[in-house]
């Protein structure tokens, strides 16, 4: 992201050289702003989808009344900002008997993990004023896939800490369940992601997208790893739902059984941290799915020009904006799928969850890996290898 930012500032100010720490701070700011805004939008979307599935309208009373009269989708736009303000203004209660350090550390850890995982996620690529197309991410790490999987395990630590420190049997049960669930579903997820890794020959998320754009066996339409690694995509999606503690895998937070699971004792901003991190993780998981299986910011056969000539005025960074639009459209489509699943299915019991993860998804992900290895070999031998 540094070259793009530096070039952008140079263009804007006529040659000002930014200090080395500026791109980092700017990325941090952008990511934080994105998390906040995205959470607001996603929560509103979730409640509207929930309403639609349940034959009702969802939040309608906040926001301009005139807009709400059109349809259910134009009402209640200010609901989430109002809820956020309410959460911020609530009293922060720390029960007397909790383990204070752990209690205060857990939301921080959870948010840290949620924030750090945004680093290698590529949302676009641009070749405006650059010598070669550069992937737009905070930092397109060479080990991007590995980094992402590693950071998501930090949530286990955070949830276990929250469950233990709360000094409450329900929280403890919730924390234990969450730990066991996330751990068990990490492994099929890893193997499911290995399929695309083998097909692309690289762990970098940017490379994965570029290989998908190039196509499989020379056919761009088959390029999206959803096709050769279909089982892997399904396994990854299921594991992703389990990782983020979303229904039908919301055992740790099952309201009907454990009140609120590991976050029972948390109030106000600390609770908001957990909630925000959960929504952020949901979106991150959809972003990873888009990047790895759905071709990221590319459409087969379409390469947007780096600047769009509109006659009197030329729009720079057009390929960046177009790529972002495509990427977010795909990511939100996956988000809609996840929401649909959430409001339709009942909850899995812990032992069924474990059986399903270990005895069904894991062998499936192995089969997927084999299939991908075979396809990659065919690609290598007959079609001259992959550009990775």
């Amino acid at each position: 992201m540094e070259p793009i930012f530096e070039q952008f500032v140079r263009d804007l100010t006529g040659g000002f050289q930014v200090p080395f720490w500026a791109p980092m701070l700017v990325s941090l700011g952008l990511v934080l702003a994105f998390i906040a805004l995205n959470a607001m939008f996603m929560i509103w979307l979730e409640r509207k989808i929930c309403g639609r599935i349940q034959r009702r309208m969802g939040p309608m009373l906040t926001g301009p009344k005139a807009w709400a009269r059109f349809s259910m989708w134009t009402g209640g736009w200010f609901q989430t900002p109002c809820d956020s303000v309410k959460l911020l203004l609530k009293e922060d209660i720390i029960p007397a008997q909790v383990d204070r350090f752990g209690f205060m550390l857990a939301p921080v850890l959870v948010f840290m993990a949620a924030l750090a995982v945004y680093v290698p996620l590529p949302i676009s690529s641009t070749s405006y004023a650059q010598s070669a197309p550069i992937v737009v991410a905070v930092a397109d790490l060479d080990i991007g896939l590995l980094y992402v999987v590693a950071i998501t395990t930090l949530t286990i630590l955070a949830i276990l800490t929250a469950g233990w420190a709360s000094n409450n049997k329900y929280s403890l049960l919730g924390g234990m369940r969450a730990g066991v669930q996330i751990l068990s579903y990490e492994i099929p997820m890893l193997f499911a992601l290995m399929g695309p890794m083998v097909l692309a020959g690289s762990l970098s998320l940017g490379d994965l997208v570029l290989v998908q754009h190039a196509g499989l066996f020379g056919v761009p339409l088959l390029g999206w790893f959803l096709v050769p690694s279909f089982l892997g995509a399904v396994v990854y999606l299921i594991c992703a739902v389990a990782e983020t503690n979303r229904p039908p895998f919301d055992m740790p937070e099952a309201e009907q059984e454990l009140v609120a699971g590991f976050s029972t004792e948390y109030t106000a901003m600390r609770f908001a941290m957990f909630y925000l991190a959960e929504f952020s993780n949901t979106f991150v998981v959809c972003m990873i799915f888009t990047a790895v299986f759905l071709g990221g910011w590319t459409l087969p056969g379409f390469i947007p020009p780096s600047s769009l000539n509109l006659g009197f005025f030329s729009l720079p960074y057009f390929d960046l904006l177009a790529g972002m639009a495509i990427f977010f459209a795909k990511a939100y489509a996956v988000v809609l799928l996840l929401m649909w699943i959430r409001w339709t299915f009942p909850r899995l019991r812990p032992d069924h969850l474990m059986t399903f993860g270990w005895k069904f998804l894991l062998p499936l992900s192995f089969v997927n890996l084999l299939v991908c290895i075979v396809l990659a070999a065919i690609q290598q031998i007959y079609f001259g290898g992959n550009p990775g």
Partner: protein, 374 residues
């Protein structure tokens, strides 16, 4: 009870006690379950009731016979008509009062509508316990239509106080039957929608099949009745065995299943929804004209005697044992309620199962605490 962990003798494992309730988002009412847990598994379960004890039976002894009727409303608030009905039937039995035929039909219509409302509430809360949130809204939305029908008749949505000794307190509105038939026409196909949401879902199957098995012998020993007993293989429905009101003239089936698990109880209640609709259509057709009340003196004095009557509430077999000593107030009025026995069964059923199973089992029994605690 502490024991050493076999692999590492420095670690000890002990059971812990978890209190589920009385304030808990999911126990159906103010029920407290004291669970002894070994990790996630329940070793022992002791239900504690009495949080909702309002001494209804003592109140009944200090009120005249008509004044007791609103008190019986609060006995099982989900099926307030049935609670009224059992008490009123006991008084009529003791005083030898014949109820006009129109009133009998109206009572049956109200009981069956109440059965539909109660089962829809049960469906919503059962699905919610198992984790699916959408059926809750579906069930309640259609329940609102039934409550609208009730409101147009007696003015109340939940606690009706509609039945009187000798009939009902007011006649049905003129367009009641058309509206009821319109509701049934619109709603009966929706039962298929409710089933689609849950049936044939592997997650739901795993949660409910072979979970909470109750054998017929244990069910009888514990005094289980109603759909829970029919799910364990015993075909007993008070409307068939000891018919009351106009049930002998009505045709309906009594669904029975032999598996005795949570899924069987769920299926039976869904079938009962259809049967109730069938009964309602027949009643709407056969509803006679005439008086809706055989007026009684305000302060009735009943002859000395005792009686026990019972009828089929959506939860099971609700009964009223009435003792009169020739005064204008009941001497002893005991209500035999189905949920009392069903909660006692939890001690036996909730054993060696996980917490989610407890929720599924408790929800499948359709207990309401006010009925238990009276």
């Amino acid at each position: 009870m502490m024991r050493q962990f076999p692999a590492n003798p420095d670690l000890t494992v002990e059971e812990f006690e978890l209190n589920m309730g009385p304030q808990h988002p999911s126990t159906h009412g103010v029920l407290r379950l004291v669970l002894t847990m070994d990790g996630e598994r329940v070793v022992r379960c002791k239900p504690v009731v009495g949080y909702l004890h309002r001494s209804i039976e003592k109140m009944a002894e200090n009120r005249t016979y008509t004044q007791v009727i609103p008190v019986t409303d609060r006995l099982d608030y989900c099926t307030s008509m049935t609670s009224n009905y059992v008490y009123v039937m006991a008084v009529e039995d003791l005083a030898d009062i014949t109820v006009p035929p129109r009133a009998e039909y109206i009572r049956v219509i109200m009981s069956e509508l109440n059965r539909i409302a109660s089962h829809l509430l049960w469906y919503g809360t059962f699905a919610l316990e198992v984790g699916a949130t959408t059926p809750f809204i579906y069930g309640f939305r259609d329940r609102e239509k039934v409550l609208d029908l009730f409101e147009s008749t007696c003015g109340a949505r939940l606690l009706y106080n509609y039945l009187r000794i000798g009939g009902v307190s007011r006649d049905l509105p003129e367009d009641f039957c058309e509206r009821m038939l319109a509701f049934l026409d619109e709603w009966e196909p929706l039962i298929r929608e409710y089933e689609d949401l849950l049936d044939e879902n592997p997650i739901f199957y795993n949660r409910t099949k072979k979970v909470g098995f109750l054998s017929a012998e244990k069910a009888l020993a514990y005094g289980v009745s109603g759909p829970n007993l029919r799910a364990s293989g015993m075909a007993r429905d008070v409307r068939r065995e000891h018919p009351y009101a106009v049930y002998p003239e009505l045709e309906f089936d009594v669904p029975v299943r032999t598996e005795g698990d949570v899924f069987a109880r769920y299926r039976i209640r869904m079938e009962e929804l259809r049967q109730s609709a069938r009964i309602l259509r027949q009643c709407a057709e056969k509803l006679p004209g005439g008086p809706y009340l055989e007026p009684q003196p305000l302060r009735m004095v009943l002859p000395e005697g005792e009686t026990y009557v019972h009828l089929e509430s959506p939860r099971g077999d609700i009964g009223c044992y009435l003792v009169s000593q020739g005064t204008d107030k009941p001497y002893r009025c005991k209500f035999r309620t189905p949920s009392f026995c069903h909660i006692a069964v939890f001690q036996h059923l909730v054993r060696d199962c996980l917490i989610p199973d407890i929720m599924a089992i408790c929800a499948s029994f359709d207990v309401v605490l006010p009925e238990t605690d009276r």
